[in-house]
Amino acid sequence: MLKIKNLHASINGKEILKGINLEIKSGEVHAIMGPNGAGKSTLSAVLAGRENYTVTSGSVTLDGKDLLELSPEDRAREGVFLAFQYPIEIPGVSNVNFLKTAINETRAYKGMELVSAKEFLAMVKEKSALVELDAKLANRSVNEGFSGGEKKRNEIFQMAMLNPKLAILDETDSGLDIDALRIVAKGVNQLKSPKNATIVITHYQRLLDYIVPDFVHVLYNGRIVKTGGKELALELEEKGYDWIKELI
């Protein structure tokens, strides 16, 4: 589904990603771990199309389509979803209203019929229940006044509404207590299907107890330096990132 080849990216002239290679197939869950400053968040930002990063070489394709050529909204419409590490508060813009716009613009992009009010309401009801997000919160301004846990649940709620092919969860566990972590993980697991794939970016192994990865990649200094199964996460937890540094 997703093919990243020799991806180099920089910000303000400083190279952060120094040749990433990664292939993700439908139905898979990949974890990307690594120390601070390794380039984890840069990778997610580049995939989602954040403008301040410059891709200097390499390619990224989603089902054969060149992602790097697309605007952020078109990437989303093609099925890329980024759950933000720090979800943005947008005062006055209603959560459900903007999701309706997002769904309808995506449907228009794909030449599909627009969502009816009834269908949409049913979706909101079903998906908000999935992450135990209060219907009132779903209707409020985007993330405004939400607690840290509510913001992360709202990310997964949006993911459920948009039903992406490829979900990238950027440090979704940061700032979550154990209960919130369980709810978020439960939501992600329920959305898993043989047709979609998930990238979980995290610092800690903890989240991977709940969202079990098929592959674990260690990102260090802008490159994937080690790949393994879920047991690699445990090994990392035990030995720390210094162990990786010694490996190189």
């Binding site: 403008e51 909204e73 990437r75 933000f84 943005i88 947008i90 997002a102």
Partner: protein, 448 residues
């Protein structure tokens, strides 16, 4: 009710008037005052004529403001004062384009500063006087006499003095003690024809325990480079509630200066909402004198500038007595080469302890050429008060735009969603649903 009628001016009076005007002053001021030469107010009672005369002597003393006049620093009047105008009765066949959908209201129509009885529909309600100002003067109504022109004398503002001296007509509304207005009063203040000059003058008086809502639409029909200089005096009596909604939706070639003086008595509530959509030059001077305890004051304003629009809101809230609250929020969205000016002064006098006064001005600039000048000011002489003021000017939050884009919303839709939210939030104190919807629709039309 009759429309304002011209009567031949007695020669003697004309001479008097000219003598006053021909005093040494700048040619531009003279040119502006020339506009009113043909006006005749001799039909008015002596009392009202004397008020006009007093204003004339004030005009004599005052000069046209320049950019070195602090109060007019960011608004140059060249656009207005370099032109010649005429006071003309305009013709309007229909007010249909200016009606607010689904609004059930009494309609009062002013065209170029003259009352139009044919186009007005006022349902009489016991305890409420609604008359054209000229008619009210003729009827010699006591309440009119006791309040009219009482708050607008000697304020050292030339345009106010000019209105004091030369206003043509306007609306007088007085609501009796304990009465609640059944429907809002919608004044449709229309300007028409090129180079016309309009001077409307309103007085609204709400007596003890009464409640009333007023809307005034400032609109234009087929007229370029015309100028309206309007004044309203508003007296909110003890425990009374008055909401005044100003809806300024003229065209890009129209000029407006408007002045409101509001006087609040004990326990009164006053709310003013100002929505400004267009105008080559729009200047609003709002002064609210809170001269009694336990008052509530809300001032909100939204201005949407495009092309060369220039919108300037100057507000003064003067807290003179203790235990009062005021909330002020003005927001602007400025596109192209438009300019927004905000100057908000809040005075908290020495005796006004326990005052809560909050003021905010937020502006979004949508283009590199748009300009915002913001000057929030607090002058506090009491020591036990809660006051704050703040001003922000910025671009649309790019992080938020990216967040929305990353969900599949186009960049344009994302920006519009955010502007809509920002703008709609401003005028939430409008309590008339139909008007609120109309204002929101106008915002959506602009940012669709």
């Amino acid at each position: 009710m009759h429309q304002f009628e011209y009567l031949k001016m007695e020669n003697k009076k004309l001479e008097e008037l000219q003598q006053v005007i021909v005093q040494p002053s700048t040619p531009k001021k003279d040119q502006l005052l020339e506009t009113f030469k043909s006006l005749d107010f001799s039909v008015e009672g002596e009392y009202y004529q004397n008020l006009r005369k007093e204003a004339l002597s004030e005009i004599e003393r005052l000069e046209l403001p320049t950019s070195s006049t602090e109060f007019w620093k960011y608004t140059r009047l060249g656009k207005i004062v370099n032109k010649k105008y005429q006071v003309v009765k305009g013709m309007i066949n229909s007010i249909q384009p200016f009606l607010i959908p689904n609004l059930e209201a009494n309609i009062i129509v002013l065209v170029n500063g003259f009352y139009n009885a044919e186009l007005s529909t006022i349902k009489e309600q016991e305890g409420i006087i609604v008359l054209s100002l000229s008619q009210s003067k003729q009827n010699n109504i006591d309440v009119l006499k006791s309040s009219f022109n009482q708050y607008t004398k000697n304020r050292n503002e030339l345009f106010l003095a000019i209105n004091n001296a030369f206003h043509t007509d306007g609306v007088f509304i007085q609501i009796d003690k304990d009465k609640v207005a059944e429907k809002p009063y919608h004044i449709i203040n229309i300007t028409t024809q090129d180079h016309s000059l309009t001077q409307t003058r309103n007085l609204f008086v709400a007596d003890k325990n009464s409640s009333i809502k007023i809307i005034e639409s400032f609109v234009n029909f087929n007229g370029k480079e015309n100028f309206i200089n309007s004044v309203s005096e508003i007296v909110v009596g003890e425990n009374a509630q008055l909401e005044y909604n100003k809806f300024q939706d003229k065209e890009e070639e129209n000029y407006s200066i408007s002045t409101e003086y509001v006087y609040q008595k004990t326990n009164s509530h006053f709310t003013i909402n100002t929505a400004t959509y267009n105008g080559a030059l729009v200047r609003n001077n709002l002064t609210i004198e809170v001269d009694a305890e336990n008052c509530e004051t809300n001032l909100s304003g939204l201005y949407l500038g495009k092309n060369q629009d220039h919108t300037d809101n100057h507000t003064i809230v003067d807290h003179k007595k203790p235990h009062c609250n005021s909330n002020e929020i003005y927001r602007g969205v400025l596109d192209n080469s438009s300019t927004g000016v905000f100057n908000g002064k809040v005075f908290v006098r020495q005796h006004a302890q326990k005052t809560n006064a909050f003021q905010k001005n937020n502006t979004i600039l949508l283009s590199d050429d748009a300009v915002s000048n913001s000057k929030p000011e607090l002058e506090i002489y009491a020591d036990d008060v809660k006051c704050s003021h703040g001003s922000t000017t910025g671009q649309i939050d790019e992080e938020a735009v990216f967040y929305l884009q990353s969900r599949g919303v186009s960049r344009k839709s994302a920006i519009n969603l955010m502007i809509n939210a920002f703008a709609k939030d401003t005028l939430e104190k409008v309590s008339i649903d139909a008007l609120h919807n109309y204002i929101n629709t106008k915002i959506e039309e602009r940012f669709a």
